[in-house]
Symmetry: none
Amino acid sequence: MEAMYKQIKQSIKSKILEGLMQPHEKISSESELMSQFDVSRHTVRVAIGELVNEGWLYREQGAGTFCADRTKNDSYSSRLPQKNIAIVTTYISAYIFPSIIRGAEAYLSEQGYHVSIFNTNNKHEQEKKIINLLLEGNYDGVIIEPSHSASATPNLRYYLNLEKAQIPYVMINAIYDELEPIYFMMDDELGGYLQTKHLLDLGHQNIACMYKTDDAQGQKRLKGYIKAYRESNVPLHPKNIITYSTENNIAKPKQELKRLLTAKMDRPTALVCYNDQLVLQLMDEVRELGIRIPDELSLVGYDDSMFAEVSEIKLTSITHPKSKLGLDAAKAIIQMIRPNEANHQSMESLSKLYEPELVVRQSTAAFRGVADI
Amino acid sequence: MEAMYKQIKQSIKSKILEGLMQPHEKISSESELMSQFDVSRHTVRVAIGELVNEGWLYREQGAGTFCADRTKNDSYSSRLPQKNIAIVTTYISAYIFPSIIRGAEAYLSEQGYHVSIFNTNNKHEQEKKIINLLLEGNYDGVIIEPSHSASATPNLRYYLNLEKAQIPYVMINAIYDELEPIYFMMDDELGGYLQTKHLLDLGHQNIACMYKTDDAQGQKRLKGYIKAYRESNVPLHPKNIITYSTENNIAKPKQELKRLLTAKMDRPTALVCYNDQLVLQLMDEVRELGIRIPDELSLVGYDDSMFAEVSEIKLTSITHPKSKLGLDAAKAIIQMIRPNEANHQSMESLSKLYEPELVVRQSTAAFRGVADI
DNA sequence: TCCGATTTGTTCGTATGTATG
DNA sequence: GCATACATACGAACAAATCGG
């Protein structure tokens, strides 16, 4: 114990052991320690460095060096972290999820985490199995998209078990209200509102909508659609509201669209859709009926995905943060895992509600007065 | 990884992982490393210091620094035998990969495995880092798509280390020949052949092609293109062969297409493309030039992806097994991990070369004799 | 056993970069 | 924008342990 740095080490360690230092309390800065012990900065750094390695302290650049919280994950279990993060989505392959996953994966890999993916197929039952796996497994954090988020989750207890096991999680795209989680999602109500408002502003009055309503996103977008109508004082025909669910996926919308467009009167002049993918799938039907887009029918998509720019008539759509959302969620989960670097008061303010924006392209046009005007 | 000491750290760690350093073997002395990396002693010491903390090395004053024996390093690699499979692809989000991943994930989850995903961005360097992670981690098997597969891999030793560590792996979409791995991929040469043959059969003679040639898939498709031409005895203009790489991705093809189509003479009447995505991206250019598809220009895509059915003019394309390929690869890797149920004589015959098929849609039409016929 | 060369251990000084508040 | 605090890096010196001759 003759080495100076060892004496300094012992001195700091003693203060912690004597309870004079509380977890997350800042210790003297390096320059203060230099004068206290009358040594060079390097020596101080060696002492602190070893204490950091042994788990007594943690450093934050620009802020200071702090006393670690040793109350739990006693010494060894946390000394050799596996560093695993799980991402649970409803569908892995379709559509925008790959972008979200990529955004998260890029950051998490960089931080040295392993990213595991799971797929619920939008089913509560599958979600339950997966959370069980997570509990048994060795995960440090979870990014999860709630399944079937329109209905209350039967898996509440499993989520609470996650919390009990101190596995932090964030929700993306939607939330289960009961859990009040950290979330990263769009303001879908505003999105639906913007879709509809755009068409109303273009003079359309008879606007149909098609929303998938077994997840919360669709329900909120529908709410926004109704809100836009109410504000505009244009009468809203209930027959114009079409909802569908994951199971009847594409069949029902196609069928309903055909019914609407071949009706003898009150044919809609515009259509807002749950997402770009749906628009593309419906476009073929529209073409078959010989209806021109956008002259005879305006279409608005959602997500501003690659689909929006791929068809001959580029889609007017609503922006979605996609990989940015994945990145933000990843950053948040890391912060929740390592609160040392974070300011813990802001835990709740990590959540983000992304404000959607309208992107006008070629699939919408002003209403051209016909018939009964 | 820009800090010098981190580079040095990585360099030393790599040597250990590559098997160039045996346990208890002495590494270069501090002064040797100083001149090797042209840094100060301090920097070398920081690098070594961290590796000692992480358990890779140990120091003996007066004697030197030595490679630690990690073989039976309790608590570290051997903790939680947890049933993990890694899927390594070049890109996670784009295009058909999500389908492949989904196919594999569905089966592996069912078998109780955790699926981790990694992204090389088609770069050898990143691939190396990931294999390092896999070696350090606790993976039972690996499904990997080789990065930049057109060129020989500089990561041969890392792959051999996977074998040494008895971590089975299968390759998808392409292979590094040197390794003679179990593989799941398409017969890309036949695919390129079918694309071209279809157009030749339709009477086209002046067929351009655009292939991404920094991965083996593109090179093989190009080979098929040439083979079809040779068989048909139709002369092949070298100017019709356009190749590009990941870096210049979309810019070069667009530019070259414009050059080809605006040429005064010998304008191609058909174009075969590396994949459907490329076709869609080029379609806009074609429209801008006022050229009608398929009357004035036939287009053939590849992969039979969702893109093929999304545009107004549905694409003639080549089938790709997608999620089937993922599923087969997953089944194979499980069989390699648990040879108990399997008949081990068939280990080598697990590989599959998928036979592509042509799907004719609307983007190709018979050549309408003009000019010189 | 001692010597001297080598190698790691400890400590000083200085400078610049970068994140935080 | 500024001061503070940690991060990275260069140079130098002497101490302590090891090892071959």
